[in-house]
């Protein structure tokens, strides 16, 4: 991680990685979604709506994964003062917020035909909604700190405190059993039939790569903006 403390060294890695993540992500996501739509049978209970799983599960994974990344970046910033940690946190937030929102909306669409309701204030849905609001708070806080020329330490603290919500989301279906189904994956294996399950890892990996490409693009944009601001300040001082 410290190897990339130098922005020039990071950019040398990030430029080709952005392209590779995008191309691989696109190929895997298309394979997963086409496989899920056209080459899997309908579920015996849910019928065709089970296919929503191939977009809902990756978005839930990335909504939570984004905040896990923010928490790691926050630790790197607060403990090691890593120069790219705040940049990474600010780049992760809009991508994580987007996938948290996709998770909430696709979950709601899935809920209508399977549960008979668009929304229920159960533990999983509510804690996921809280995660989305945490993202909005983090984006506002980090942007305000950046504009004021701060190091982003308050946003980093917020990122760490917000991580408390992650185990709550994970265990919500065990602690409060309401409408949302219990966990389908565990140490004992999967509760989903293999004929339906196989496109899910492809779609999840594909969306994860696209998420990574978006984060790297935002990090590159942030670094370029910082460079421009520094040059303008230097020119004004001369």
């Amino acid at each position: 991680m410290h190897r990339f403390a130098n922005p020039a060294r990071f950019l040398k890695f990030a430029k080709p990685a952005t392209v590779w993540l995008f191309v691989i992500g696109l190929a895997l996501a298309v394979a997963g979604l086409v496989g899920g739509l056209a080459f899997t049978p309908p579920d015996y209970l849910q019928g065709e709506t089970v296919r929503i799983m191939y977009v809902h599960v990756p978005s839930a994974w990335l909504g939570m994964g984004g905040w896990t990344g923010i928490a790691i970046a926050s630790i790197a910033q607060l403990v090691w003062r890593h120069p790219l940690a705040a940049v990474a946190g600010r780049a992760l937030a809009p991508a994580g917020a987007t996938f948290a929102a996709i998770c909430l909306v696709t979950g709601s669409i899935w809920g209508r035909p399977t549960w008979g309701t668009w929304w229920e204030w159960d533990g999983r849905l509510t804690s996921m909604l809280i995660l989305f609001f945490l993202y909005l708070g983090y984006i506002a806080l980090a942007s305000a700190e950046r504009e004021r020329g701060g190091e982003g330490r308050i946003a980093a603290l917020f990122g760490l405190i917000g991580a408390i919500n992650l185990p709550i989301i994970h265990y919500s279906v065990t602690w409060w059993r309401t409408l949302h189904q219990p966990q389908s994956f565990g140490t004992a294996g999967s509760a989903i039939d293999p004929s339906i399950l196989w496109p899910l890892p492809l779609a999840t990996l594909g969306f994860s790569c696209l998420f990574g490409a978006a984060v790297l693009m935002r990090m590159r944009a942030e670094l370029a903006e910082t460079k421009v601001e520094a040059r303008i300040r230097r020119a004004a001082a001369e």
């Binding site: 309908p42 693009m217 421009v228």
Partner: protein
């Protein structure tokens, strides 16, 4: 109840959101890197 209408709606939301995120990240990156290049030349 037509299940495919719900499936289509979910895919439109997911793909639309992902494409919008990628397009926004790409546009901001291109704009910022072009500005950095322009200030470098000055």
């Amino acid at each position: 109840m037509n299940h495919w209408a719900f499936v289509t709606a979910a895919y439109v939301v997911a793909l639309g959101g992902t494409v919008a995120l990628l397009a926004w990240a790409y546009a901001t990156m291109r704009r910022a890197e072009a500005a950095a290049e322009a200030t470098k030349r000055k």
